[in-house]
């Protein structure tokens, strides 16, 4: 049969090409999400089994009972995304435009922490920020932290941990979009009497927007659902919604509540992403 099949069914070709991806999406995303929704509408207990009965109350309970944790999750994720952006952009910019032949090595440095597993990296922060560690001593000496204060087991430590852990997800897309910018456009702007700063604002930055959008999404979305950082670096008053979902799922074996919360988290993130995409403009996303 060979290629003849494709010639005879030319209309089907795009679908055939899309099929593996769609199958993947169906089996590993749509089916689990369907099951998630189904489970979130069950009630009962692990002892007697859960039964499906349109238990919308699970959603109401989740919002009513854990509003604080939802808000804290988005606050921490938002802060971490912002800090990661502020830190990454100059770095990515520098590597893209000034990195020269060291580009690949410099990129490797950004990715290097990823060679160590996520859990170990976070545990390392526990040591770095410890009450007897160097960081706290320096912060106390320069009066940022009052004597006897602490960094570990606070919200600050959680945000720091998240920022660190997701930073490469911000830096790499930024680098890719900056790297593709045609330098002659910037030169043209400067020829037309734009200052360096103005050329950056009007030419370079807008052209790097796809990277900004990709980077912020790749950082914000997983950060909002993170619970390891809050568990290891936080205190009982800095827990995120991920911690609650984890405890509902693993400790209380309350699958419906955990499913409802996961779905709410997903829905809020989706809504935020859509709003964000609309604000930035979708055509910017694809470059």
């Amino acid at each position: 049969m060979g290629l003849g099949f494709f010639h005879r069914h030319r209309g089907a070709t795009p679908y055939l090409l899309l099929a593996p991806g769609m199958l993947w999406l169906g089996v590993f995303f749509l089916v689990p999400v369907g099951f998630l929704v189904y489970q979130s509408l069950q009630s009962g207990s692990i002892d007697f089994g859960y039964a499906f009965n349109w238990a919308w109350g699970n959603y109401w309970d989740a919002i009513k009972g854990y509003r604080g944790e939802f808000e804290r999750s988005f606050e921490y994720a938002g802060l971490a995304t912002l800090i990661a952006f502020v830190v990454s952009y100059p770095v990515a910019y520098w590597i893209a435009f000034r990195g020269g032949r060291w580009k690949n090595l410099l990129l490797l440095f950004i990715v290097a922490p990823f060679f160590v597993t996520y859990l170990i990296r976070t545990l390392a922060w526990e040591t770095i920020l410890s009450d007897h560690g160097l960081v706290l001593r320096i912060l106390t000496d320069i009066h940022i932290v009052s004597p006897g204060g602490r960094v570990l087991a606070t919200g600050t430590a959680v945000v720091a941990g998240i920022t660190y852990n997701y930073l490469p997800f911000m830096a790499l897309p930024l680098y890719v979009s900056l790297e593709q910018i045609d330098q002659t456009l910037v030169e043209a702007a400067e020829d037309l009497y734009a200052s360096k700063w103005r050329a950056f604002l009007r030419v370079t930055f807008p052209l790097s927007l796809p990277g900004v959008v990709a980077g912020t999404l790749l950082t914000f979305i997983p950060a909002a659902g993170d619970f390891i950082n809050a568990q290891l670096l936080g205190s009982p008053t800095s827990h995120m919604i991920g911690n609650v979902i984890n405890s509902k799922f693993n400790e209380l074996i309350d699958y419906p509540a955990a499913a409802a919360m996961s779905f709410i988290l997903m829905a809020i993130i989706l809504a935020m992403v859509l709003g964000y995409a609309r604000a930035v403009g979708t055509e910017k996303l694809t470059g």
Binding site: Y15, L18, M22, L25, G26, V27, L30, V31, G34, F35, Y38, Q39, Q42, G44, S45, I46, D47, G49, Y50, A51, F52, G65, Y66, G68, E69, S130, D131, H132, R150, L152, A153, G234, S235, P236, T237, H239, N243, V244, N246, S247, K248, F249, N250, E251, L252, I253, D254
Partner: protein, 386 residues
């Protein structure tokens, strides 16, 4: 533009086919819900040893020499049964969620012996659901060596399904180099000198039992009133910033490096930590600590006879002593102390390992009904994770 329209149409179609895919998925996946408690009595047990015994236990919980476990080697030599020993239990809840799907479908978990703690809801739940096999007591004459305090737990009054592996105390551990002795719960929860450097345990029963005893209430009979009082006491300590964090096993490094000055702690952990840091101290609070027991259970589908023969083996004082000499928790086997007095008197005389009767008596146990009270559990989880 046309490109976008086709993509939208395509997505809609994909979504539709997704739903079709979903339905059988749902039907298959929701089978885990209902479960019928199986009748476990009356099964006749084949008196034939299996080739291999699959034993799941907690980490660092059996004697070890190099890469070998001498007591398991002796078992193999004596009975010709190889023990597939797996250290795959880290905490009760996640281990339960690992075996629950199989058990609820009536499938074997691939294990003959598992070890779960009676201060979690799971041993009682496993018995209630009929997800564990009855022991073959005819193969366990050594059951007579079980210490009297352990013979009639409320969730398995005749030890039909379970035998203790090890027990432990929950009390207060502190670093004597950094703080004065902390021997009362009042100190732990209120002493301003410890502010932000105090740990509590994530285990419901550990923390609740000690706090209730401090409140003057009986942890073995929990009522809504005493429960709410205990939660209020803990909440106050959390809100005042006294409590740094709720910990599982991970309080150990924080206590060792000084981030915690004092914390609720398990006796066996402290015995092991003291080897590296002699400044760590441990005591039951003046209002009493808590005792918990890890229990060997045979999950449904496990080989009852082989598992029972193994349990009988570890209830020989000589073998129990060998394991105890390494593990250093509280030994449930009579006669092990006498063996160790000759072999390793320091261990035999350590009251954290072989406690006095007074120490055993001052330790509380938790009300098993409270462990299965969903309202209490939810409120507790909200307190520690929210």
């Amino acid at each position: 533009m046309t490109d976008q329209i086709t993509r939208k149409v395509f997505l809609r179609r994909a979504a539709a086919s997704g739903t079709i895919l979903t339905v059988p998925g749902l039907l298959a996946a929701c089978g885990g819900g209902g479960s019928s408690p199986g009748a476990s009595g009356g099964t006749t047990v084949a008196k034939q040893l299996a080739k291999t015994l699959h034993f799941s236990n907690w980490t660092l919980y059996i004697d070890k020499k190099g890469n070998r476990h001498p007591s398991l080697d002796q078992f193999q030599k004596k009975y010709g049964v190889h023990v597939d020993y797996r250290e795959d239990i880290n905490d009760n809840a996640s281990f339960f969620s690992k075996i629950q799907p199989n058990l609820s479908r009536g499938q074997s978990t691939g294990r003959d012996i598992i070890v779960m703690t009676d201060n979690s809801r799971y041993p009682a739940l496993l018995v209630k659901q009929g997800w564990v096999e009855k022991l073959d007591k005819s193969a366990i004459p050594n059951i007579k060596n079980l210490i009297p305090q352990q013979r009639h737990p409320s969730w398995d009054p005749n030890r039909d399904y379970s035998l203790p592996w090890q027990s432990g105390f929950t009390g207060i551990g502190w670093n004597e180099k950094l703080t004065d002795p902390v021997t009362t719960m009042g100190d732990l929860l209120g002493n301003k000198k410890l502010k932000g450097k105090v740990g509590l345990l994530t285990e419901f029963s550990d923390t609740l039992a000690l706090v209730m005893a401090y409140n003057g209430d009986d942890p073995a009979h929990i009522t809504d009133k005493t429960f709410n009082k205990a939660i209020a006491t803990i909440k106050q300590a959390v809100n005042s910033g006294q409590i740094r964090q709720f910990y599982g096993n991970d309080y150990a490094p924080a206590l060792a490096n000084g981030d915690l000055l004092a914390t609720m702690a398990w006796s066996g952990d402290i015995v092991q930590l003291q080897a590296d840091n002699s400044h760590l101290k441990w005591q039951q609070p003046d209002t009493g600590g808590d005792i918990w027991t890890d229990n060997m259970l045979i999950p449904k589908g496990g080989n009852v006879y082989t598992a029972s023969v193994y349990m009988n083996f570890v209830y020989e004082p000589k073998i129990a002593a060998e394991i105890e000499d390494y593990v250093n928790y509280v030994c449930p086997v009579l006669g092990a102390k006498e063996v160790l007095l000759k072999q390793d008197p320091a261990i035999a005389k350590n009251t954290l390992i072989f406690p006095t009767k007074a120490e055993l008596d001052s330790a509380h146990t938790i009300d098993p009904n409270a462990l299965n009270n969903e309202k209490y559990q939810t409120e507790w989880q909200n307190l520690i994770s929210a």
